[in-house]
């Protein structure tokens, strides 16, 4: 008996009036996958560095993220501590083992309990380091890996994300190019999360509510 | 030396022919004032739209042949209806796919067929003779005219020159009125729900007059407004532009 795979592919080819050996079609597909042509990219994000970061911050604010600007990475522990204090949260944060977060002067915040590793759902606040920010829509881009648990992006009530200004791009296409440079063409980390604001739902009477299943608040620390 | 007058064939449409000849005469006046020689081929009946939209391609095709044969000799064909003009302009060529001879004739006719206000503004580029109408009006964008032919600014531009007339837009002038040809009787209850929203929008503007470019929509909205006891007058845009909005409005009592 013919497998469903062959049956489906066969039906597609019959409907299209083609065969799997059709050379021009094969070439067209090979070309597109290899060249990854860019389509229409909005002008909105194509700005000089400082303005691009400004746009990123404005757009993140429009989708209910909060943003703090820090002059240096070393300010991150204090900013985390301050965020938790301002919201009357316990001085506790869970983060990944990412060196960008590990090599920070955490000892300056004596009250702050820092734990490392994935979340099992008990953490009120999580800290992640974004690979990029996208100015176009105020989006942060997070990739999974040994040092970057995906659960931290979704289970804690409060998600704090560090974005380096040098990684703020105008558009998603620049982010894709960066992923290809880092992981190799056609290769992806297990999970890439593009996060634009805190979790929300409008499923009850189309009323917009924040904090559905994911984080109730998204706080972005823009460094640099 | 004077250039010869453009020869215009008026496709009056079955609804105007039957319900409201005033619209036809208004269209003639507007065209003649603009320097056209207007003819109305007597053998015209229906453009075939009801058949086309009911899935009866053969029926639609038969009527399309009739219209093509009657009108193909004119310089322009003008229609005081967005949906009938759209039928000829957008859908006729599609009815003759695979028949090069007829297809060409259909395409030629399509190219010179125009909705009335679009013809006056986009093709002739003339301003109608000065007329006046004291009061406020709102304009309903009939679906086919708007979305198949891009009729939106033209009627408003012409109306802006009418002395004493102020246009007040509805919240959603582009929303369908629920007529939909045979839809309004096939799914009468839903059609009613749609026109109900439309008349609510019309009434909330507080205007004296509702205008549009398609008699089907106008009959539907006028009938609903009248049933609701509204005093909003309903007329085809050509009547006002031609200064012929003097008799009873659509569905209005005769004096």
């Amino acid at each position: 008996m013919m497998s469903s795979r062959d049956a489906i592919l066969g039906r597609i080819r019959r409907s299209l009036g083609t065969s799997e050996k059709d050379a021009p079609r094969l070439a067209a597909v090979r070309h597109r996958l290899a060249e990854t042509p860019v389509n229409v990219v909005p002008a909105r994000g194509q700005l000089p560095d400082a303005e691009r970061v400004e746009l990123f911050i404005r757009k993140a604010g429009e989708v209910f993220a909060t943003v703090a600007r820090l002059g240096s990475r070393d300010d991150i522990p204090a900013a985390v501590s301050e965020y938790l204090r301002d919201r009357n949260l316990p001085q506790a944060i869970r983060r990944g083992a990412d060196a960008r977060l590990a090599n920070l002067p955490w000892e300056r915040e004596a009250q702050l309990a820092v734990t490392v590793g994935p979340s099992a759902g008990q953490d009120l606040a999580g800290l992640s380091h974004a690979d990029a920010g996208v100015a176009e829509t105020g989006t942060v881009v997070l990739t999974s890996g040994a040092d970057n648990p995906t659960t931290l992006n979704f289970l804690p009530d409060h998600h704090i994300v560090v974005v380096d200004t040098s990684t703020v791009t105008g558009d998603y296409e620049t982010v894709w190019a960066g992923l290809r440079r880092r992981f190799g063409a056609g290769t992806m980390p297990r999970t890439v999360n593009l996060v634009t604001g805190p979790s929300r739902s409008a499923d009850i009477e189309e009323t917009l509510l924040l904090g559905a299943h994911g984080p109730r608040s998204l706080h972005i620390l823009v460094v640099g | 030396m004077t250039t010869p007058k453009p020869q215009v064939g008026l496709f009056v449409t079955c609804l105007v022919d039957f319900f409201r000849p005033t619209v036809g005469f208004s269209a003639v006046k507007l065209l003649e004032d603009a320097g056209c020689e207007v003819s109305v081929p007597a053998a015209q009946t229906c453009c075939g739209q009801p058949a086309y939209n009911s899935g009866d391609r053969a029926g639609a095709r038969a009527l399309a042949e009739q219209v093509i044969a009657l009108f193909e000799t004119f310089d322009h064909v003008v229609v005081p209806s967005g949906s009938c003009a759209g039928m000829i302009k957008v859908h006729y060529p599609d009815l003759f796919s695979g028949e090069p001879g007829w297809r060409l004739r259909a395409e030629r006719l399509a190219a010179k067929t125009h909705e009335l206000t679009s013809f006056l503004v986009d093709v002739l580029g003339v301003a109608p003779l000065p007329v006046s109408w004291e009061g406020t009006a709102t304009y309903h964008d009939s679906c086919s005219g708007l979305r198949e032919l891009g009729v939106k600014a033209q009627p408003r531009r012409l109306l802006s020159a009418v002395d004493g007339l102020a246009i007040k837009e509805m919240r959603d002038p582009e929303a369908c009125c629920g007529f939909g040809g045979t839809f309004c009787v096939k799914y009468d209850e839903i059609s009613n729900a749609i026109v109900d929203r439309k008349t609510a929008d019309i009434k909330s503007t507080g205007v004296d007059l509702l205008l549009s470019g398609d008699l089907g929509c106008l009959l539907n909205m006028a009938g609903k407004l009248k049933r609701e006891g509204s005093r909003v007058e309903v007329r085809h845009v050509a009547e006002v532009l031609a200064g012929m909005a003097t008799g009873p409005a659509i569905g209005e009592k005769t004096k």
Binding site: I12, G186, T191, H213 | V40, A222
Partner: protein
């Protein structure tokens, strides 16, 4: 279909919907939220129309090479350590999912919002086989509690009001304080969050759909707002993606382009909160993520749409804009259609999936106003395809006899100008006389569908052509 609704009883369903004020009030929210939201988002992006062209072109290219992109996608999924399964129809898809669940020893399954699982009727099948599926999207959770199907593809519980949700929560969440306050949507959301959190953490398998399948990388992409889709796919040991074959796009660049259209068209957001690309199972050293990753590719009638007048429908990205802007949907809601997919896109798609006999008449439930096409991000000519179904229905003599007779009579008359002239002259004169000075008719036999709801404006008297001839004109 559940709830006793079927496509065949659309007029009856519509009648019931129109007599249901809470339903009408609930769907009226669409105007000030989704419709005006889309308008604002589109106005704020000058490139929107160019993006629509690009989106259409991407999908057209992909469909013309669909077999090759599916093979490329499959290869990349396997390279990343995942499994790809091919399902010819709904039954096979359900069977494959069940087999994976059983092999994983699963009892409890969480689900992200997925119209494809609705299409194949997955929940009922899993339940019948001893597996409990839990919908985790708030809207889907609500309708699952109510034993209903989605009435909208992106706002499944759009027909439900908050009082009904509160009543359902009290009925089902029996372990919670019966005196708790559930008046506000915020407390309802908080309760669902609490209840579902435990389900997320204890599920054995997570099932999601996909908005895109990326051939370049073997990634599946989901676009959500609540975060439930992500919790569904990262917490359980097994993640199953059920997606239809037309979801594949060539590259990440193509995802970016369509992403810019999707949320704007759907909810008026510039970007949904969570766009997640998943590629294979967890990697060596990863501290979380599923250990097994399966993609089930569903055909279910789609391959047969290629190369036909309905091929363009396969460009659909399920944004729901056509539904939100449809005057018919806005009058009766989604359940009246009796099909998984309501509104214009549903009326085009359903006959392809269910067969012409069962669903062709859905295509008649449209004014052909064309607003659906004017807002479709993929520029799908929906009215044209609705008309195609009407043609097929007519060709196969499925059109009701009365309508066929009416069309034949009209054609007979309209093809005979002299007779037509005489008949219309008589009729116009008679109606004008009948109306007298009233100018309109309150009732008219044979036109009761019209006069039941509105007056019929009377003809002026003589037909235009008679009056024209009287003036000696040609």
């Amino acid at each position: 279909m559940s709830g006793g609704l079927s496509s065949a009883s659309f007029p009856k369903n519509a009648h019931a919907a129109l007599a249901n004020p809470p339903l009408l009030k609930a769907i009226a929210h669409i105007e000030e939220t989704l419709v005006s939201g889309r308008r604002r988002a589109v106005d704020a992006l000058p490139e929107f129309e160019a993006l629509r062209d690009a989106g259409r072109d991407i999908k057209a290219h992909t469909l013309a090479h669909l077999d090759l992109y599916l093979e490329a996608f499959e290869k990349k999924v396997v390279e990343a350590g995942g499994f790809v399964h091919w399902a010819a129809d709904a039954a096979e898809a359900s069977r494959i999912v069940l087999d994976i669940c059983q092999a994983a020893g699963a009892r409890r399954v969480t689900k992200g919002k997925s119209m494809i699982t609705e299409e194949v009727g997955l929940n009922a099948f899993l339940e019948a086989n001893g597996i409990t599926p839990v919908e985790t999207d708030l809207g889907e959770y609500i309708i699952q509690l109510r034993g209903e199907t989605p009435s909208h593809i992106i706002a499944p519980a759009v027909h439900v009001n908050k009082e009904q949700v509160a009543a359902d929560f009290r009925r089902v969440h029996t372990k919670l304080d019966p005196l708790r306050n559930l008046e506000e949507p915020t407390s309802l959301l908080a309760e669902a969050r609490g209840v579902l959190r435990e389900r997320f953490l204890t599920a054995d398998v997570g099932i999601t759909g996909a908005n895109f399948l990326v051939a370049e990388t073997g990634s599946t992409v989901i676009v959500t707002n609540e975060g439930n889709g992500d919790l569904t796919q990262i917490l359980p040991k097994t993640h199953i993606v059920l997606a239809s074959i037309e979801k594949v796009v060539p590259t990440l660049e193509d995802v970016a382009t369509i992403m810019r259209l999707l949320a704007r068209s759907a909810t008026g957001q510039e970007m949904s909160v969570y766009t997640t690309l998943s590629t294979g199972p967890r990697r060596a050293g990863d501290p979380d993520g599923p250990e097994a990753f399966h993609v089930v590719l569903l055909d279910n009638g789609r391959s047969a749409m290629l190369g036909t007048e309905f091929e363009d429908m396969l460009r659909c990205i399920r944004c729901g804009a056509c539904i939100n802007h449809c005057p018919v949907y806005r009058s009766v809601g989604g359940h009246a259609y009796g099909s998984v997919y309501p509104g214009p896109m549903g009326s085009v798609l359903t006959p392809s999936l269910q067969g012409l006999e069962k669903a062709a008449h859905l295509a008649n439930a449209s004014t052909l106003c064309g607003r659906c096409e004017s807002v479709c991000p993929m520029r799908i000519p929906l009215p044209k395809m609705l008309r195609h179904w009407r043609e097929k229905e007519f060709e196969r003599h499925l059109t009701p006899k009365k309508a066929r007779f009416g069309l034949a009579a009209w054609r007979f008359l309209a093809a005979r100008p002299r007779l037509y002239g005489a008949v219309t002259r008589m009729a116009a004169w008679s109606l004008a006389r009948l109306a007298g000075k009233d100018g309109a008719l309150k009732q008219l036999p044979l036109a009761s569908g019209w006069t039941r709801w509105r007056d019929l404006p009377a003809p002026e008297g003589g037909t235009f052509r008679t009056e024209w001839a009287k003036r000696g004109r040609k």
